[in-house]
């Protein structure tokens, strides 16, 4: 997201933000188009629920729209959006806890039926049924393992390894020093590795 490659209209994020601030709705629409997949993907991976991710993504963009006037032009829009995303997802997870609504995802428990009920969906891929089944299963297990991680570990893994952001960007989004990013990331990877060990050993 921090990359601001000009698409559609040839304007980069900065220009689109400026135009949106000036009241040009289409500029904000363009920003949405540009960032919606990443926002949704990130929300979905943090929350593990498509519906929740959809609601959350909507709130994220609304929040961005409402706060656009206060957005610092020197900052990167994508990074700012990620920060909102992380905060919104945290709120969402906290609300789950608040209403005693938990979605335990076990590496053993989740079956295909459960997943179709708004849970983690297997990825649809163009491959043989066997490969697809294998990939789906792997995806499901990785997702489940991610959901078992503490929130901060999941966030940092997704920002760094799924979204491919730099340490600096992750530090900016999470508002922590780079050293903290480094140590937190290694810890998160270690935790995930423990949970994925059966798969990793099987593949090896």
């Amino acid at each position: 997201m921090p990359a601001t490659a000009p698409v559609g209209g040839g304007r980069d994020d900065r220009e689109l933000v400026a135009a949106a601030k000036g009241g040009e709705r289409s500029a904000f629409d363009e920003l949405v188009v540009r960032h919606q997949d990443k926002v949704f993907n990130m929300s979905y991976r943090i929350l593990g629920d498509r519906e929740e991710a959809l609601d959350c993504s909507q709130e994220i963009f609304l929040s961005a729209y409402r706060g656009l006037q206060r957005f610092d032009d020197k900052a990167r829009f994508g990074t700012w959006l990620y920060r909102i995303t992380v905060n919104r997802c945290r709120d969402q997870i906290r609300r789950r806890g608040f209403r005693k609504y938990t979605r335990p995802i076990s590496l053993d428990a989740a079956g295909p039926d459960q997943e179709s009920e708004g849970g983690l969906e297997p990825a649809a891929r163009e491959s043989t049924p066997l490969e697809r089944a294998s990939t789906d299963e792997r995806t499901r297990l990785v997702n489940a393992a991610l959901q078992e991680l503490p929130g901060d570990a999941r966030e940092i893994l997704l920002l760094r390894d799924l979204q491919g952001l730099s340490y600096e960007e992750v530090a900016e989004i999470l508002e922590v020093p780079i050293g903290t990013v480094r140590s937190r990331l290694s810890r998160a990877r270690g935790l995930l590795r423990e949970r994925l060990l059966p798969i990793l050993e099987g593949e090896a």
Binding site: D37, D55, R95, T139, V142, R182, G190, A204
Partner: protein, 572 residues
């Protein structure tokens, strides 16, 4: 940090190319020598790849549809703050009134183009001529007044949303333009001859000249604050009455038994005066209403701009009431109806919607907290209110440890401000701070489990047997949710309001009344109260306005009417 953790961190950094060349080369050597380390690196690499290879989920088309719908009801970000609109609207309003003044002056002067330049208006001959011209002059005056009023009304319509005070000013300015006195001395300075509207304004002349008098009034009016306007309106109205009385007195001595057209004119003028006074009174009332609504309309403006219907729940919380159950009916023009239940003491506010049907239509909750406290304390207060929003502090809250240190509350406020959830932060007079916090729809739909905890000035002492109020709320709320089965439509409605309130009532220990200056009020609270000044009653009245909630519904929402608690209990 253990050895294993340090090794993982090193490997992790190595994988990311984040190790400097020296340590990286050293690690490579160790990797060549140590198969166990190689295996560890490999497993870590596979872990990272597993995440990287997760399929990218594309946003469903529904997201854009929903967003488009939401955004269409949002004001443009540039206009949202309303400041520019307000100023622009003000300028536009003043310009329009200035135009109406010119028209009025033009019409008025046009009727007396033969008036002398030397200002001999009061000479006997001219008085006589003036009397002869009176009906025509009154007619012109009426026309001018009508025009000014029309302008004012249209401005009223336009400006109420944007600013709220402009209409008051325009009323006053229009009256300035229309009152007879404003034009009476015009002949002394205005050159004879009919002016066309395109003519430039005459040069600045003594204060008695009509256009300049009007212009001065316009400028002065522009500077006046709304409160001053109200007084000004009253003064002008009084002046106007005097003017009319004088005019009547001039016309009064008529030869007895000689019915003349002048007497008829007097009657007509008297009738007109009554009409005019009635109009004036109406305008005054409108202006005052605008003034009164100004503060409340602030949030409403946003709602109107967003195409939403506002349900203004001005909470009737007062210091000596422990619980308030309020029922609110729909605003006019819609068939929406909703009942909200409040439970409140000075420290705690809980509100909930009664059914999923209502929750589904709930777009957002605009919570306005008007805090009577020194600035710093108010910041602390809001931080305290929103403290529970912090994910990492949730456990602490639920365990009753959420008597957050002030530094953390401040931090919360900063965080919320950074996250753009605190919409406005205004300070006035160093004693009161108003915040508006917009809760997202998703959160609003959970209002059954959402509670705002108000710390008036300091964290209050725990008042519940062995538990803090926070823990009490958390448990009660969760219990309520469990019992009500996730507030399904229609289901549990009969229990949702009173049951909830009753449960809370049962759980609440009889706490001492923390009224203003009461025994339970913290020392800081007392000091803050004192710093506000005013009598005890005034301070109590202030407290009664501490909390105001505005619920915004989409205009098209069809809500199932909810019976009021009274009706409900009657039904039972």
């Amino acid at each position: 940090m253990s050895e294993a953790e340090r090794r993982t961190e090193e490997l992790s950094a190595f994988l990311d190319g984040d190790l400097e060349s020296g340590p990286a080369a050293e690690l490579r050597e160790r990797l060549e020598r140590d198969p166990e380390l190689r295996a560890e690196l490999e497993s870590l690499r596979r872990t990272v790849e597993a995440v990287r290879n997760l399929p990218a989920e594309r946003a469903p088309a529904e997201l854009r549809e929903r967003l488009a719908a939401s955004l269409s009801s949002e004001a443009a970000p540039a206009l949202k703050r309303g400041r520019l609109v307000g100023i622009g609207g003000w300028v536009a309003g003043v310009s329009a009134v200035a135009a109406s003044l010119l028209i009025a002056a033009f019409l008025f002067n046009g009727s007396r183009q033969d008036a002398p330049v030397d200002g001999g208006w009061k000479s006997a001959a001219k008085k006589q001529r003036a009397k002869q011209d009176e009906p025509a002059r009154q007619d012109e005056f009426e026309k001018a007044f009508e025009r000014a009023q029309t302008e004012t009304r249209s401005l009223d319509d336009r400006e109420t949303v944007a600013g709220g005070t402009v209409s008051v000013e325009t009323v006053a300015v229009a009256k300035d333009a229309a009152r007879p006195g404003a034009f009476r001395g015009s002949n002394s300075a205005v050159p004879p001859g009919r002016r066309t509207p395109s003519d430039p304004l005459p040069p600045k002349a003594p204060a008695e000249s009509a256009p300049d008098s009007a212009r001065s009034a316009l400028e002065a009016t522009g500077r006046r604050q709304a409160e001053g306007e109200r007084e000004e309106i009253n003064k002008l109205a009084e002046k106007m009455r005097k003017e009319v009385k004088l005019a009547e007195r001039d016309r009064a001595p008529q030869p007895a038994g000689e019915p003349s057209t002048q007497q008829e004119e007097v009657k007509k003028l008297a009738a007109d005066k009554a009409v005019r006074n009635s109009r004036l009174k109406q305008q005054q009332e409108n202006a005052l209403r605008t003034l009164r609504q100004d503060a409340a309309a602030k949030a409403g403006d946003e709602a109107q701009a967003a195409g939403l219907v506002k349900l203004d729940l001005s909470l009737l919380a007062s210091a000596d009431r422990k619980e308030i159950v309020a029922s609110l009916q729909a605003t006019a023009g819609t068939d929406q109806s909703a009942a909200f239940y409040f439970q409140s003491d000075p420290q705690e506010l809980i509100f909930k919607v009664r059914s999923a049907e209502e929750a589904r239509h709930l777009t957002q909750v605009l919570l306005t907290l008007s805090v009577a406290a020194p600035d710093d304390d108010a910041g602390v207060l809001l931080g305290g209110v929103l403290d529970r929003r912090r994910a990492d502090k949730e456990d602490a809250w639920d365990e009753g440890k959420a008597q957050a240190p002030e530094s953390r509350k401040r931090e919360n406020l900063d965080e919320l401000t950074a996250r753009n959830e605190v919409l406005t932060t205004s300070t006035g007079g160093g004693a009161r701070v108003t915040f508006e916090v917009r809760l997202p729809a998703a959160e609003a739909s959970l209002v059954g489990r959402w509670g705002a905890r108000l710390f008036p000035y300091e964290p209050p002492p725990a008042t519940v047997q062995g538990k803090s109020a926070g823990a009490r709320f958390g448990e009660a709320d969760a219990d309520a949710a469990d019992e009500e089965g996730e507030v399904e439509e229609g289901a549990g409605e009969e229990d949702a309001g009173e049951g909830f309130a009753a449960r809370e009532r049962k759980k609440s220990a009889p706490a001492p009344d923390p009224g203003v200056g009461g025994a339970a009020a913290p020392a800081g609270a007392k000091a803050a109260e004192r710093s506000l000044g005013g009598s005890k009653n005034e301070r109590n009245a202030l407290r009664e306005r501490l909390i105001r909630i505005v619920i915004l519904y989409p205009k098209g929402a069809k809500l199932k009417p909810s019976p009021s608690p009274a009706a409900e209990s009657k039904g039972k």
